[in-house]
């Protein structure tokens, strides 16, 4: 469903991505794991066509550069930092993004109910808590039922209870057969949601393993243990 082939990207002199290649199958949930600055967010932004890169990114066989709008129509994206129009009401935000996505929808409350925000449609976005904003972003991402979800450290700013609820919600969405590419710093999230974990460091993929085999002891270093038999180094 997602194919990233030999993608490189620079911020000035700094190389943010260095020949990254990755494939995510239809219905698969792949976690991007790595320390801050490893290149996870940059890779996600390249998939969305937000940054200029060399190499090739395809979603459902469509080139992300040549068919940016069509590719983004297939992707529901929840960023790490939510940037909504604070003065808008929650319901207005849903309607605005539904129009941008050309997503057929008839009931704002139903969309909000899907992510546990029922009854908040009349509130201004600035009145929502961080966790509620994340849920709103997820509701926006799910408009039009996109086959791919791309999530960038979406639980980083949530408290323990909010995080559990959010992960449970994502687990349900993944179970519905959606393809998921997400970055996270939390082992419990990765082991719960991911079928496969891709470890990045300094803009490169340095390891891959099945989600169930992900070794929590690598957590401290932010990179996979070289001794782990599950790790197979990417090219």
């Amino acid at each position: 469903m997602i194919r990233v082939a030999d993608v490189s990207m620079r911020f000035g002199r700094a190389r943010a991505l260095d020949g990254v290649s990755l494939e995510v199958a239809r219905g698969e949930a792949v976690a991007l794991w790595g320390a801050n600055g490893a290149g996870k967010t940059t890779l996600i932004r390249c998939v969305l066509g937000l940054l200029r890169y060399t190499g090739c990114v395809e979603v459902a066989g469509l080139d992300a550069r040549a068919h940016g709008k069509r590719v983004r129509k297939l992707i529901g994206y929840v960023p790490q930092e939510i940037g909504f129009f604070d003065d808008m009401r929650v319901g207005e935000s849903i309607r605005f993004f539904a129009r941008l996505k050309a997503a057929p929808f008839d009931d704002v409350e139903r969309e909000l109910d899907r992510v546990g925000l029922a009854g908040h449609g009349r509130k201004r976005v600035r009145e929502l808590s961080g966790g509620m904003k994340q849920r709103l972003a997820l509701a926006v991402a799910l408009l039009g039922d996109p086959p791919v979800l791309v999530l960038d450290e979406v639980t980083a700013s949530l408290d323990a209870l909010g995080r559990d609820g959010f992960v449970h919600l994502l687990e349900r969405l993944s179970g519905e057969g959606r393809t998921m590419l997400f970055s996270s710093h939390r082992v419990d999230e990765v082991t719960t949601l991911a079928h496969r974990v891709v470890t990045m460091d300094l803009g490169k993929i340095i390891g891959m393993c099945a989600g169930s085999e992900f070794d929590p002891s690598t957590r401290r270093a932010g990179r996979p243990s070289p001794a782990s038999p599950a790790m197979e180094h990417s090219r």
């Binding site: 200029r52 709008k69 940037g83 605005f96 050309a102």
Partner: protein, 297 residues
């Protein structure tokens, strides 16, 4: 008898689900949002009230000075309003344009908007049109309010003169908004964009006039050079065009106005129109190219 399983054309399915909204639909969505945002904001109410209040003050003073009657009095009033438009409309348009992209970038809104199925040029054009409609509403409310109150007080008004001034004000606003959006696209921070737009306003409103006067004295500029330098500034073009519609002659501008009338004659409105159109299209086109190449992050 075997029943054939339905064949699902996967490519056709993806084609269907990946069909993004049309460019027109996206531009409309962003335009309406930007317009709503602008109308609900304080700057819109503030500028409209300021425009209306100053317009009424200028009109009253001009009408009183002209004895308050006759179309000559109206010409004076329009000239007063023209000077007000020359100061306020560029300030509103440059300021609004400067905030168009830079503030969204600073708030982290830009990458999120661009992660939706919308092309960058669609987003920028939608923002431009939304802000333009808001400024047009502000100008029309201001000028319309002035004209309405003057008519109610029984002072001279010329509907065609007011409409002409309003249309030219809209053209001026469109060109200044383009410049503001251009500044916004290339500014790294919202504060830099606003500062640059105020600097641009100072240069266009005051700097060019003073520069031309100084240049004429210091370099003994030839009259055709002076005309070329004057019409390079959209504010001067607006002023000359407005005066020619009020008075049908540019002799109030001195030798340069007379020279323009003698050499270009009936083609002056076309020249003025082309220059203002270029000030709308060229900065906006450069802004779109820059916006499509710059990282939104």
């Amino acid at each position: 008898m075997s029943v054939a399983a339905p064949i699902i054309d996967r490519t056709a399915f993806i084609e269907f689900t990946a069909r993004p909204p049309s460019a027109l639909a996206n531009i409309r969505t962003v335009t309406l949002r930007e317009l709503r945002d602008a109308v609900c904001s304080r700057w819109f109410a503030l500028y409209t009230l300021a425009f209306l209040g100053l317009g009424l003050a200028v009109s009253s003073v001009s009408a009183a000075a002209a004895g308050g009657v006759g179309l000559a009095g109206f010409g004076r009033t329009t000239a007063g309003l023209l000077n007000l438009v020359l100061l306020i409309v560029p300030l509103i348009a440059l300021g609004a344009g400067a905030g168009a992209v830079a503030s969204d970038r600073e708030r982290g809104m830009l990458p999120y908007l661009l992660s939706q199925p919308i092309a960058r040029w669609e987003l920028l054009l939608g923002k431009y049109l939304g802000l333009l409609f808001a400024i047009v509403a502000c100008v029309l409310l201001g000028l319309g309010g002035c004209a309405g109150i003057l008519a109610w007080r029984g002072e001279a008004t010329s509907p065609s003169g007011i409409v002409g001034l309003a249309l030219l004000s809209v053209a001026l606003a469109a060109s200044m908004l383009s410049v503001g959006v251009l500044i916004s696209v290339f500014a790294r921070r919202a504060s830099v964009a606003v500062g640059s737009s105020i600097f641009a306003w100072l240069v266009l409103v005051f700097g060019t006039d003073l520069g031309l006067m100084a240049g004429t004295i210091a370099f003994k500029l030839r009259i055709e050079t002076l005309l070329l330098l004057a019409i390079a500034n959209p504010l001067q073009v607006f002023k000359m065009w407005s005066l020619s519609t009020i008075d049908a002659s540019l002799d109030v501008l001195g030798p340069v106005g007379l020279y323009a009338q003698d050499t270009i004659g009936d083609r002056l409105p076309w020249l003025f129109g082309a220059i203002l159109l270029a000030w709308v299209v060229v900065p906006l086109a450069i802004a779109m190219i820059g916006f499509s190449r710059r990282s939104p992050v």
